[in-house]
């Protein structure tokens, strides 16, 4: 697919998202897809303004409420596939994401590394919901930006 077509498709998807997602109400425990995308945008904005070191420190040590809100949280992976920030569980910093499998055996970490583009992409897998503690289907919006991948996922129990 040409770059222009990819852009067009992205625009159509974005328009569809804008049309339909507001109907999905945020609730007490679950963020929406649109909120996840916006949180990624805000996280990249913070990275751009504050710098990598300050941004990752913020995501790892003091993320709420801007970068951790209900089941939404920011994670960041570097070019080598190593987690450098995790707003729900900073103990995951240093993890080699490329080797991660979900409960169904899906190599979703590698998929995140492969799929992330500057325009953003959704990657589906199963992961622990920080709100419930259960393994739930998750869709993460992942955006590559200046050598890092910024992600925020939503859960669909």
């Amino acid at each position: 697919m040409s770059r222009a077509k990819t852009h067009l498709r992205g625009a159509v998807v974005a328009f569809a998202v804008l049309l339909f997602l507001p109907a999905v109400q945020a609730d007490e425990t679950h963020g929406t897809a649109e909120e996840a995308q916006f949180m990624v945008e805000q996280a990249i904005g913070y990275f751009d303004k504050a710098g990598a070191e300050a941004a990752f420190a913020k995501f790892n040590t003091d993320p709420a409420p801007s970068f951790a809100d209900r089941d939404l949280y920011v994670f960041v992976v570097d070019d080598d596939g190593i987690a450098v920030a995790h707003a729900a569980d900073p103990s995951q910093v240093g993890l080699d994401v490329a080797g991660l499998k979900d409960v169904d055996g899906k190599m979703f970490g590698q998929e995140i590394l492969d799929m992330a583009t500057p325009q953003g992409a959704w990657v589906d897998y199963k992961w622990k919901d920080p709100e419930t503690g259960n393994i739930e289907p998750k869709s993460s919006w992942v955006v590559s930006h200046e050598g890092y991948i910024f992600g925020v996922g939503i859960y669909q129990p």
Binding site: F38, M39, Q42, I44, G45, F47, K49, A50, K58
Partner: protein, 148 residues
């Protein structure tokens, strides 16, 4: 209490039509109501489509978290993402720190000096700041029209 601010407002209106303290507080209330309804997405509206609810004459809303991260800004959207915790005004006052230290759910006024969008130069400002669910919602007035 109304009498206390009426003369200042009347004087200001002869030169520049400015927002009042009550209007600033109402603007903060609207921002909090939108946040309660829409969550983080409220910040996109405040930064990208602020008029008229979140930006009107010299009134504009800005929102930052308890660490100073600017989450929304109705006058300068380019400030979103800035860590403002060490911001000083031209007199050296660390006004963001003061807002974070003093903010309460009922709201406080914090005085400092900031760019007056009507004059295009720094002027005394009083911001009404309300702490709500980890964010500070603020809207300031200029020209010393303080007093509630």
């Amino acid at each position: 209490m109304w009498l206390a601010i009426a003369p200042a407002t009347a004087v200001a209106q002869t030169t520049i039509d400015r927002g009042s303290a009550r209007e600033a507080q109402a603007m903060v209330d609207r921002a909090i109501a939108l946040y309660d309804a829409e969550g983080l997405l409220a910040f996109r509206t405040i930064s990208q489509e602020p008029e008229p609810d979140f930006r009107d004459r010299d009134l504009y809303v800005f929102v930052f978290d308890q660490a100073g991260f600017m989450a929304a800004h109705a006058l300068f959207p380019q400030f979103v993402g800035v860590n403002s915790v060490n911001s000083r005004d031209i007199e050296g006052k660390m006004y963001v720190r003061e807002m974070i230290e003093r903010a309460s759910e009922t709201g406080v006024w914090v005085d400092y000096v900031f760019l007056d969008p009507m004059l295009g130069e720094p002027a005394p400002k009083s911001a009404w700041v309300v702490w709500h669910e980890g964010f500070l919602f603020a809207c300031g007035i200029y020209a010393g029209e303080i007093g509630i």
